[in-house]
């Protein structure tokens, strides 16, 4: 029987109607993997999309599509209204002060590159320092290295302890008069560590340094309020929060965005152009050159509406339950090492089965229908910190069930047996 039809509940889990939620995600029951029901535990790489978000694309292209911000005709106004309404949805979702503080990008990588180029390029000079942490995804390392090579800024890295937590005293000690920017992840994609970002933001601000938060692995798991955090920039991506690929968000404080130089030049980001002089548009349009991902922005808004309706607090509680249960069961197997033991952790488990290479684990779990990520998770410095080339990673979403954890554990047990 398909596991999707009979999700096992525990009393503590009863805050979410899992059967109903799973019915919203067609792929969870539509796909069989090598004759087994799909157990999708690769949500940290990309999450699945509910029917409501899939349908939003169909509705848009059936009734609303034209280019935005330039036509006087009915459809162009319809599309423009839907696109700008999506911006307002993101504003509410992050509790940003104003909708013009929300810029649509392609993904988090694009958002970070925008800040590195438009803020870093304008306000950082040779010898200035940028602080990141040892937990960063390559997307929050490489853009700063490119800036280093271009401008001679220095990259400083806050270390982590054996549990995979940033050592706050060491982070604070990295600040000096040359520190001009901080860019840190909210949640580690490789280990699941939830950084104490509120505290880290305060530390940066006490030194008068602006700070960017990479929320790629955070916004789908917990409520995020950018005004309460007081971060200067915050980025997240659509496809990890049950929306489409190709759409991301950069939140930035208006006062900073206004001072920054544009990222890309072209249509929509200008007020007037002659061959002698171009006047740039106001924010957010200054940063949205060319025809944007209109349909994807609108779909993203419907995904945010979806998770908001389910409730991020309830999502967090259910995912915590999954994490505790999976961690406990994995430990009971014996011979399975878990990397990332942070006290405050999101529902991600990076693991190593005996001395079996993670790629073998991944291939064999796939044979049981269980999808996990294997490799270095675009976080090679994290792997180097623990002296391993790669891990297998199970990353959970709120539609996952305790049954699926059991399927994961049973599949790992088979791997252990095969290699014993």
């Amino acid at each position: 029987m398909n596991a999707a039809a009979t999700p096992r509940m525990t009393p503590r889990e009863s805050t979410l109607d899992l059967a109903r939620i799973r019915a919203d995600f067609p792929i969870l029951s539509a796909v069989n993997v090598h004759g087994k029901p799909l157990v999708y535990l690769d949500n940290g790489a990309s999450a699945q999309m509910p029917r409501q978000v899939i349908d939003r694309l169909v509705r848009y292209h059936t009734h609303e599509h034209a280019n935005i911000h330039r036509g006087v005709h009915y459809l162009s106004e319809t599309a423009t209204n839907a696109y700008e309404a999506a911006r307002k949805t993101v504003q509410r979702f992050l509790n940003a002060r104003e909708d013009r503080e929300v810029i649509f990008t392609a993904n988090v990588t694009d958002s970070i590159n925008l800040v590195a180029h438009s803020y870093g390029g304008a306000f950082l000079a040779e010898g200035d320092e940028v602080i990141i942490t040892h937990l960063e995804h390559h997307a929050n390392i490489v853009p700063w290295q490119m800036l280093r090579d271009e401008k001679g800024v220095k990259l400083r890295v806050a270390p982590i302890n054996d549990a995979g937590e940033v050592i706050l005293e060491d982070y604070e000690r990295l600040f000096n008069a040359r520190t001009k920017f901080v860019s840190i992840t909210h949640v580690s994609n490789a280990l699941g560590t939830i950084n104490p970002v509120r505290e880290m933001i305060d530390i940066a601000h006490r030194q008068g340094v602006p700070i960017m938060i990479d929320g790629a692995q955070a916004v789908q798991h917990m409520p995020v309020d950018v005004q309460a955090l007081d971060c200067d920039f915050y980025a997240f991506t659509g496809h990890k929060i049950y929306g489409p690929t190709g759409i991301g968000v950069l939140y930035g404080k208006a006062a900073l965005l206004e001072k920054m130089r544009p990222f890309r030049g072209g249509g929509d980001m200008i007020l007037s152009v002659t061959f002698e002089k171009t006047t740039y548009n106001t924010i957010p349009f200054k940063f949205e050159a060319g025809t944007p991902q209109i349909a994807q922005a609108i779909q993203l808004a419907s995904a945010l509406d979806y998770v908001t309706a389910v409730g991020l607090d309830r999502i967090a509680a259910h995912e915590h339950e999954l994490l505790s249960y999976a961690t406990e069961r994995m430990a009971s197997l014996g011979g399975v090492r878990i990397y990332g033991r942070a006290k405050n952790k999101s529902a991600v488990i990076s693991f190593y089965v005996g001395d079996v290479h993670p790629h073998d684990v991944g291939t064999l779990l796939d044979g049981e229908g269980v999808a996990v990520r294997t490799g270095h998770h675009c976080a090679q410095p994290v792997m180097q910190r623990f002296g391993i080339p790669a891990t297998a990673r199970a990353s959970f979403a709120f539609y996952n069930t305790l049954d699926e954890v059991d399927a994961l554990i049973a599949a790992i047990a088979k791997v252990k047996k095969l290699f014993s």
Binding site: H34, G35, V356, H357, P358, H359, D360, T363, L364, D366, G367, T374, G375, H376, M383, P389, A390, L418, F419
Partner: protein, 158 residues
């Protein structure tokens, strides 16, 4: 293909007890093979004796597919003339990328347990890395990879 079928006893056995595993102090040819994407990292060393591979050894850290492929490769080419070993490298490559144009190769013999990997494109590089490394060693190239121009999978990449 069910991925489990790849992990047949022969492959598991060569992973558990790799043949020709270790250092070769008096090697005449050696090369390092690295797949930076998954961290597979091996060394192949061999001693040529009158245009044939007299002795050969490998060592390193890798997944079971890569290790079994390396182990069975060393067993297959040991004692063979360089030209036959090079031909086998090509035949193995054609088999794991599923090149239908390539002629049937009787020389592959037991190595045909790797034929199913053509249906698992993400694992082709694991199987092929030892062979690229052997090719590099025979051609006095210090290192081999499965990336860039050497990528065996047309649409490969991370």
């Amino acid at each position: 293909m069910d991925p489990k079928l790849l992990y047949q006893e022969m492959i598991l056995d060569h992973n558990r007890k790799p043949r020709n595993y270790g250092k070769l102090e008096d090697a005449t040819h050696r090369a390092e093979g690295l797949n930076p994407l998954c961290g597979d990292h091996i060394w192949v060393a061999l001693k040529l004796e009158a245009d044939a591979i007299g002795t050969i050894a490998f060592e390193g850290h890798s997944c079971a597919i890569c290790k079994a492929s390396a182990s069975m490769m060393t067993a297959a080419v040991k004692g063979k003339p360089v030209a036959s070993a090079e031909a086998l490298v090509e035949e193995f490559r054609h088999m794991v990328i599923g090149n239908a144009q390539a002629p049937e190769s009787p020389a592959l013999a037991r190595l045909k347990v790797f034929a199913g990997i053509k249906d698992l494109p993400s694992r082709v590089k694991c199987a092929v890395l030892p062979w690229h490394t052997l090719h590099a060693a025979l051609n006095q190239t210090p290192s081999a990879t499965t990336e860039g121009d050497a990528d065996p999978v047309a649409a490969g990449g991370a």
